[in-house]
Amino acid sequence: MSAPDLGRSGLSTWALAIRRDRKALIGASMLALFAIVAVTGPWFAGDPTALVGIPLQGPSPAHWLGTNGQGQDVLTQLIVGTRVSLAIGFAVGLIVVLFGALVGVTAGYFGGRVDGLLSVFSNIFLVLPGMPLAIVIAAYLPSGPFTVALVLVVTGWAWNARVLRAQALALRRRDFVAAAIVAGESDIRILMAEILPNMMSVLVAQVIGSTVYAIGAQVGLEFLGLGDVSRVTWGTMLYWAQNDSALLTGSWWTFVPAGLCVALVGFALTLLNSGFDEITNPRLQLERFWRVHLIRHGQTPGRSTPVVREHA
């Protein structure tokens, strides 16, 4: 758990993380690439549902990633599908954290009976298996991106509530919050002006983590046929690959690209998050400072942390 950093707002810390940390830089660049494709892709890629050739043809100069079971171009589908897949992922990631913050921060700040009730509520949602619940709810609603986003919010907010409750609890005990309470500030103002701004870095990290979850779960639901299967997304590409028995005909190009893109986005976001952690986590930061210091003085850094140093 990284300590709240008081001096900087979340976003400028991010900028710092990207400038200083190689991992964060790689993650951010990969993400930027996907974002460009998501925004501009549908304009230049053409119609993803057009029948362009014989079904299940391998990669060729005409179709770089081959054709799928319907004879559509896989690369075009991949490019066009990026927009919806990422949009749902980031939207759900954001909403899930907002809702989690609402529940978690309220519970942590007010404490007592409010906390007890809200904690039981979020613990129940935490322990209920998310995927089966999402499937059951989605099956009752009209299929489409909106349904997918809705069920992912319902099944995904609880973890954030738990983490953010712990953060709010820790901040609640800090002097500046106590001072604000004594000064007679209203609860809303304390929450908005004192607690939330100091949780910014955690909130942003949670949005990143939740987006990874949302993209994976969304693709899973669509793979089951619970999305709108006539719309082209990474998930429905995999749905059709499975339906057209792409595996048993050896057509790897119909399912490898979409899954790889999901993984690359998830990996990029994880890199960004861990790079961010290196900057905001004082323990890791100190350790790195110490390592650099030792190497500069011609010594080999040990396995130890600077908090408790080991002398060989």
């Binding site: 995927m131 499975q242 399912f255 130890s304």
Partner: protein, 327 residues
């Protein structure tokens, strides 16, 4: 003991919440649930099936609270209605056919992954900045960000289809005779190998990182330094002093991870046509078999809650502090 009873109470509340969600779901559909359901099945279903559907959800003209009580009564007696896809088999019977396979696959997958991942985490923390610490976490996090079922597809394509090392699906060969024989066990293991490998690979990274991070802070704590200063052998210090205590946060998240892993393993089952709950679930989704779908959700939830309680017992045994305050 008080601690375990309190946890049990929480799980009962969670089970009741799941039941309540199940009851209200059909009623959340736009319009009147009964008409909406029936309209969807018009012409496709025998009148008996529609009556069964009505009976399952207690969709009558009675007031809501009395419908709710009827529904709870049915479930408590193990009556979850009639399956539409497997008409006229009752839902409980259909679920029973696949429950063992799912528990076997997901259960051993998650235990295996937890054990291997935690051991690797110990190794990564001990040989800090060695190759286990530098390369393995990134590699496994990458595997972890792949969708489960996609990893399953890739494994099936590579090891099943291209190399032919493993069978392409199902839980055992068509010509194998089920029974407690060595030959059948080997056959089952050969079929379970690939799906299990997928589950382990996809979840290993999380356990490794969690264990590594706690190990690093535990290794810097005073009692570990004391153990070292006493001149205890390093292996004993690492395993008996540090690892045992560093395991606690992982055990806590183990319970929560169960539900998550189970969700992923359901999708893996579909790829491998493994005859568990996931396979039944996708059949239910395709055939709009709502009673079966909800029955599966309920049974999986109960299984997860039960497993969580067992994790609590293990936690109590591992953590001396909770044990002392509990007795």
């Amino acid at each position: 003991m008080r601690y375990l009873l309190r946890r049990l109470g929480f799980y009962l509340v969670a089970a009741w919440a799941a039941l309540t969600i199940n009851f209200f779901l059909p009623r959340l559909m736009p319009g009147d649930p009964a008409t909406a359901l029936f309209a969807r099945f018009k012409g496709k279903l025998a009148p008996e099936a529609i009556d069964a559907l009505r009976a399952t959800f207690g969709l009558t003209d009675a007031p809501l609270w009395s419908q709710y009580l009827t529904y709870l009564g049915h479930v408590l007696r193990g009556e979850m209605g009639i399956s539409i896809a497997y008409f006229p088999a009752p839902v409980s019977q259909v679920i029973g056919t696949g429950l063992g396979w799912t528990i076997f696959l997901a259960g051993s997958g998650v235990v295996l992954s937890f054990a291997i991942g935690s051991l690797l985490g110990v190794a990564a923390a001990w040989w800090r900045r060695g190759w286990v610490d530098t390369w393995l976490p990134s590699l496994l996090v990458f595997f972890g960000s792949l969708p489960y079922f996609w990893l399953a597809m890739a494994a099936l394509y590579l090891f099943g289809f291209q190399l032919g090392w493993f069978p392409l699906g199902h839980a055992y060969s068509d010509d194998a005779v089920p029974g407690w024989t060595l030959g059948f066990a080997a056959d089952v293991l050969r079929h379970a190998a690939l799906p299990m490998l997928t589950i382990v690979l996809a979840t290993l990274g999380g356990w490794l990182l969690s264990m590594r991070n706690t190990m690093i802070s535990v290794l810097g704590s005073d009692y570990v330094n004391l153990a070292r200063a006493k001149g205890l052998p390093p292996g004993r210090v690492v395993m008996r002093y540090a690892a045992r205590n560093a395991l606690l946060p992982s055990v806590t998240s183990f319970g929560m991870a169960l539900g998550f892993v189970l969700g992923g393993s359901l999708l893996t089952e579909i790829v491998f046509s493994y005859p568990g709950q996931g396979y039944l679930l996708v059949q239910a989704v395709r055939n709009q078999d709502y009673p079966l779908m909800q029955g599966i959700f309920l049974v999986i939830t109960l299984a997860v809650l039960g497993a969580n309680w067992m994790v609590d017992i293990v936690y109590l045994w591992l953590d001396a502090r909770t044990r002392d305050s509990a007795s």
